[in-house]
């Protein structure tokens, strides 16, 4: 029987009940969320189940929603079932003051660098990561660039001449 979004959704609800929520299908891709303590359980279930078989981690990123207090940082996992060609998006929300999420490196080796990039740009602390340090930015940087909490221009810049740049 062909695997469809409906079947995936039914299996998830059967296994996890009320803990998985927020099922939507933007552009045909099933999207759901779960509490951040459950993220490994859900990922393992999606990996191990013989019918679901989501064994390819396409992307691991974060989104910063500055207006939703208590749920500011969303860690987003994109998974792919290569055999049946089904994609699924799994979101985990966390507070910005304690951005600790369990690492997926035990399950997917590709999550290693993707989690380092997410830490580098959003500050999400992946608990249990073997080597969580900055990957694309300078090591001495003390802020997280992709968070939406900075003014448009850096007020402390000294190398751009004001008169030449029309300020």
């Amino acid at each position: 029987m062909e695997l469809t979004n409906e079947i995936v959704k039914q299996k998830l609800i059967a296994k996890f009940g009320e803990q998985v929520s927020g099922f939507t299908e933007p552009y045909g891709m099933l999207t759901f969320e779960a509490p951040k303590e459950m993220n490994l359980k859900v990922l393992n279930f999606l990996y191990d189940d013989e019918e679901l078989k989501f064994r390819f981690l396409t992307d691991l990123q974060a989104v910063h929603y500055p207006d939703e207090k208590g749920r500011e940082l969303a860690v987003v996992y994109h998974l792919h079932n290569l055999g049946d060609n089904i994609r699924i998006r799994f979101k985990v929300f966390t507070d910005i003051s304690t951005p600790d999420v369990y690492t997926a490196t035990g399950l997917y080796a590709s999550a290693n660098w993707m989690e380092r990039e997410t830490y580098d740009f959003f500050g999400v602390n992946f608990v249990g990561h073997p080597n969580l340090k900055r990957i694309l930015n300078v090591d001495e940087m003390d802020y997280f660039p992709m968070r939406k909490e900075f003014p448009l221009e850096d007020q402390t810049r000294i190398d751009k001449d004001d008169e030449m740049f029309g300020r």
Binding site: L136, N137, V138, M141, D159, K160
Partner: protein, 194 residues
């Protein structure tokens, strides 16, 4: 066929003979020619510059076009581009240099032997270009001293050749004692280079 193709090729007759270079000023005699050491060394150096292409992004492609047959860089003496800093005279930085790449670029510059020149090709190497952001070094003159800047995004091969010819002028006219003088030392000190 809608309309015949027009090839805009206007052959210009040569105004001056370009097959021989200019001789430096000196005193001629029967079988000898006396001139300043500076001029001779400058002439030799400027017509045989070995560049080190530090091509990072799009300007590197324009450099590839400059090295190719149409806009030949080899006719200016740089037939051999080396990728070892120990053997090169001119560091051509072409492309965006990120803040993480800055120390690497400085290391490459430090490994070059005197006399060395630096040309910053393109807007990103000269001043950060359109990337006014947290991750891009706003001009390589924040880390190494630069001799010639070639603006453009990317500069046409003719512009790169023009910058190269200005480097040739600088090389030809440079005093032999410049690299050991006080001014040069203080320039390097301001970059933190011993």
């Amino acid at each position: 066929m809608s309309r015949p193709v027009s090839y805009n090729v206007h052959t210009k007759p040569l105004e001056t003979d370009i097959s021989m270079g200019e001789m430096p000023e000196g005193f001629k005699g029967e079988g000898f020619f006396a001139t300043k050491m500076n001029d001779v060394v400058g002439l030799a150096r400027k017509n045989s510059i070995w560049p080190l292409p530090f091509a990072t992004s799009c300007c590197g492609i324009e450099f590839m076009a400059t090295m190719a047959s149409h806009y030949d860089l080899a006719r200016f003496g740089s037939e051999r581009v080396g990728f070892s800093p120990r053997q090169c005279d001119l560091l051509m930085v072409m492309g965006t240099i990120a803040k993480k790449m800055g120390p690497v670029l400085k290391q490459v510059y430090l490994q070059m032997a005197e006399p060395r020149w630096v040309i910053a090709v393109g807007a990103c190497a000269s001043s950060g270009g359109i990337f006014d952001t947290y991750s891009v070094l706003q001009g390589i003159d924040q880390v190494i001293p630069v001799d010639v800047y070639v603006p453009g995004c990317p500069p046409r091969p003719e512009a790169i050749l023009d910058g190269f010819m200005r480097i040739q002028d600088l090389v030809g006219k440079e005093s032999l004692r410049r690299r050991t003088g006080e001014k040069y030392k203080s320039l390097l000190e301001s970059y933190g280079i011993q």
